[in-house]
Symmetry: C4
Subunit: 122 residues, 4 copies
C-alpha cells in the first residue's frame, strides 16, 4: 500500500483524569498509523485554555508501523508532562501522510470507560 | 501553524442526562480548537425536536487556545439553560477556521460512561 | 443558516443488545439534524449479514429541527421491528442535506455504556 | 442505492484486551457495509508497533450485506490470531466501495465499556 492519510491532524478534546482505579491508570493515546514505506517524522503541539501552546514534541513513527503514543508518559514526550485534570487539545504534523485516532481510558471515580474518535485531518 | 479547520460545524446528538452520580455532574462539552493567530468569534445555535432553535450564543475562542465549553453551564452560554432529559442538537459557526469535537459524560443510573465524536464540518 | 450536510449517510455498526438493566432499555438512536428551511423527507434502509435489506422506511424531519430516532421503536419505523442480538447496518437518504450521528446505549450485563460516531456521508 | 463508500480504510487504534468479564469476551469488530449490487472482495492488513505487518487476509462481503467481522476470531481471519494486550492497527482495501466502522467492547477489569468510530477512508 502506498502512503495514505493526511499531513496535519487535530484533536480538540484532550483530558487526563486526575484519578485512577482498577489498577489501571487513566490515560489517553494518540494512535498513529504509518502505512508508507518511509519513516514519518511527526511533531505534536499541545494547546490549553489559559496558557501558551507547548511544542513541538518530535517523534518518529517507523515505516509500516503503528504507534499508540501514551500522552501521560513524559518520557515519550521529550520530558513534557501534560497536567492532569486540565482540558487541552493537540495537533500532529507529519512529513509523510499518516492517520490519527484519539482514545481515552478513564478509570476515575471507580469507573472504567473508553472513548475514541478519528481526529480531524487536513 | 496557519489557521486550520472549518467555519461551520454540526452535532446532531446532544443530550444532558437528568441524573448524576459519583459526585460528578452528567454533562456535555463542545471542545473547540483554534490554532490560528486570530481570535475566533463563534456562534452556537441549539436545535430541538419540537420547538424553535435557540441562538445565536456568541463566544470568543482566543488565538492558539482550546476551549472545552460546558453545555450545562448557562453562565457560559449567555444565560441559555439547555433542558436536561431532552434531545437536542447544535451548530457552531466561526469567523476563522476551528475544529469541533463533541463529548458526553453520563453518570446517571449510578453509571459513568463517556462518548465522543468529531463533529461534521463544512 | 442555509441547508447543510449530505444527502446520503451510512452506519455500518448497528446492534440492539438483547438485555437491559438500570431500568433503561438498551437502544440505538439515529440522530438527524436538519438546519435547512425545508422539511427533510428521509428514507432508512436496514442491512443484515444473512438476509435481504429492509426498507425504505420513510420519515420526515421538519425544517430547523433535530430528531433522535429510536431504532428499537417499531412504531416510529413504520412497523419495522429490528431484531435484538443481531448485527445490522443502515443507510439514510434525504431530499435535503442533513447530518447523521449514530449512538448506542448498552445496559446489558448489568452495565451502562455509550458509544457514538458521526456517520459516513456522501 | 448505487455503490457508495471508499476503497481504502484505516483504523489506527486496535487493541484486544487480555481479560474479560460478565461472561462476554472482550473483542473488536470491523463493521463493513456493502450497499452495492456486487460482492466486495476485501483484504485486511494488520500493523504493529515492533513487528512487520500481517496480511493480506481476504474476505468477501456479499452485495447488499453488512458484516461485523470479529477481530478476535482467527477462524474468520484465515488463521491469523491477533495477540491480546498488544497495540495494533489495520487497513481494509476493497474492489468495490464499502464503509468501515470500528468498535471495541472491553470487559476487562470487571468493566463493560464500548467505543466506536468511523474509520478514515480514501
Amino acid at each position: 500500500m502506498t502512503s495514505s492519510g493526511k499531513l496535519r491532524w487535530f484533536v480538540p478534546d484532550g483530558y487526563l483524569p486526575r484519578e485512577s482505579s482498577h489498577g489501571i491508570e487513566s490515560h489517553e493515546a494518540a494512535c498513529l498509523l504509518n502505512v508508507s514505506g518511509a519513516d514519518a517524522h511527526v511533531a505534536f503541539t499541545f494547546y490549553f485554555e489559559d496558557r501558551d501552546p507547548i511544542g513541538p514534541v518530535e517523534l518518529t513513527v517507523s515505516a509500516l508501523r503503528t504507534w499508540h503514543v501514551r500522552l501521560d508518559d513524559s518520557a515519550i514526550l521529550g520530558g513534557v508532562e501534560l497536567p492532569r485534570g486540565v482540558p487541552y487539545a493537540y495537533t500532529v504534523t507529519s512529513d509523510v501522510p499518516i492517520v490519527l485516532q484519539h482514545s481515552r481510558l478513564d478509570t476515575s471515580a471507580g469507573a472504567y470507560t473508553l472513548f475514541t474518535t478519528l481526529a480531524y485531518g487536513e
